[in-house]
């Protein structure tokens, strides 16, 4: 049983690394985080309930570890960030030519509370409900943070993308 869970966690390592990279924006920090989360998961393996999603459980452990780390470094976690106007002026990603590195940079600049929702839903494909369970917040909070995160991302890509005409169609 425990051996089987270990094997399943190994199979989830690529996704855990992607999730951690989305949160931290740094490859080295991400792998430290994944390692720490795996160690914590192995110690707490009895608290995972069979039949529930193992990936969500691991995301939650990893995310809490990341939050602990942010707090230690005195980085504000709960900030909602500036409220960006909806992209009605046309400065959205639609016309912008963006490159993937720029997208990663802009995501890394989002406030942590927006970034974690964006990563869980848009990159890891969790539903709003699943993301709410991982982050332990109501679905309404998930939706407001996610909408803000994406409008801020679109606005920052729209601004910078226009000045980078050489970058070719990265959004497929």
């Amino acid at each position: 049983m425990a051996a089987d869970i270990r094997h399943q966690i190994i199979l989830l390592l690529p996704r855990l690394r992607r999730f951690a990279r989305g949160l931290t924006g740094s490859a080295a920090e991400a792998d430290d985080l994944v390692q720490g989360a795996c160690e914590r998961a192995l110690r707490a393996i009895g608290s995972w309930q069979p039949g529930t999603r193992l990936d969500s459980w691991l995301f939650r452990i990893l995310r809490n570890l990341w939050i602990d780390d942010l707090r230690r470094r005195r980085i504000a976690v709960s900030s909602e960030g500036p409220i960006d106007p909806p992209g009605e002026d046309g400065r959205t990603v639609t016309e912008a030519r963006i490159d993937l590195g720029r997208v990663r940079e802009r995501i890394a600049e989002l406030p942590p509370a927006q970034r974690e929702v964006l990563v869980l839903v848009c990159i890891e494909d969790l539903s709003y409900r699943e993301a709410a369970a991982v982050l332990d917040v109501p679905i309404g909070t998930i939706m407001s943070r996610l909408a803000r995160a994406r409008q801020a991302l679109a606005a920052s890509l729209g601004e910078s993308g226009a000045s980078a005409p050489g970058a070719r169609g990265a959004v497929r």
Binding site: A3, R6, H7, I9, I10, L13, P14, R15, R17, R18, R21, G22, D31, V34, Q35, C38, E39, L42, P86, G87, E88, G90, T92, V93, T94, I98, L100, G101, V103, R104, I107, L118, V119, V121, C122, I123, S127, Y128, M143, S144, L146, A147, R150, Q151, L153, A154, L157, A170, V171, R172
Partner: protein, 235 residues
């Protein structure tokens, strides 16, 4: 119908029930501004996903896999089970005290391996994992590479000639030098399938030195090209 930003986003994400989604669809079709606002949500999702897609294809660092590898049956349990299984114990010149001598030969000790140890050391140092290399009149193959606390170990098969019996074993690199820590004699022709006895002995040895799973070939190559100067797995 008044469509809020969050409703538009939930539509883009497929989170609305069918009825609401149908109404939102109608409103979007009739309104270019809503269409443009919808694209913000569609394209940020596609863009974020694409920006991180490559990470899934990266090799996972060996120490992450090693940290999760299932602990195998302990060496002492294995030894005990062998000692009490008379038929098996008879064939093993293996004792706990002697197990970690520089070279442990099981069954018919032969000078053959020692004779070739200089050549063997250079093969252990430089042979790519899984590749069949020339050794004496036969072949050598590094079958696995493992990070351990004080360096790196490689499991190998070494057959001095096509007709002779060969060896399956583990060598470890400490302070820049390779030592064959375990070698199990194998009858000629038995190398196509790993014999249980050799596999068990190698597994038990790897457990004892704290090795996890074998490095994948990409990680093995990086470590080899770095002259085996690699960080040990962290605790």
């Amino acid at each position: 119908m008044k469509v809020s930003e969050e409703m538009l986003m939930a539509f883009a994400d497929g989170e609305l029930d069918a009825d609401t989604a149908g109404e939102v669809r109608k409103a979007i079709d009739a309104d270019p501004i809503l269409q443009r606002r919808l694209r913000v949500f569609e394209e940020t999702r596609l863009g974020a996903k694409a920006a991180f897609a490559g990470i899934l294809d990266e090799p996972v660092p060996a120490q992450l896999v090693a940290a999760l590898s299932t602990p195998r049956r302990g060496f002492r349990d294995w030894l005990r089970s062998r000692a009490f299984a008379g038929q098996a114990a008879g064939g093993l010149a293996l004792a706990a005290a002697g197990f970690f001598a520089a070279l442990v030969l099981v069954d018919r000790p032969s000078p053959g391996l020692l004779d070739g140890e200089m050549a063997l050391a250079s093969l252990l140092e430089s042979a790519p994992g899984g590749a069949t290399e020339r050794w004496k009149d036969g072949s050598f193959q590094a079958t696995g590479t493992y990070l351990v606390a004080d360096g790196v170990c490689r499991s190998f098969t070494a057959v001095p000639s096509d007709t002779a019996s060969g060896w399956r074993g583990v060598a470890c690199r400490r302070d820049g030098a390779w030592t064959v820590d375990l070698a199990v004699a194998e009858p000629a022709g038995s190398f196509t399938t790993a014999s249980d006895r050799a596999t068990e002995a190698i597994d038990a040895f790897l457990d004892q030195v704290g090795a996890g799973a074998s490095l994948d070939l990409a990680a093995e190559e990086r470590a080899r090209l770095a002259g085996w100067n690699i960080a040990p797995p962290r605790e």
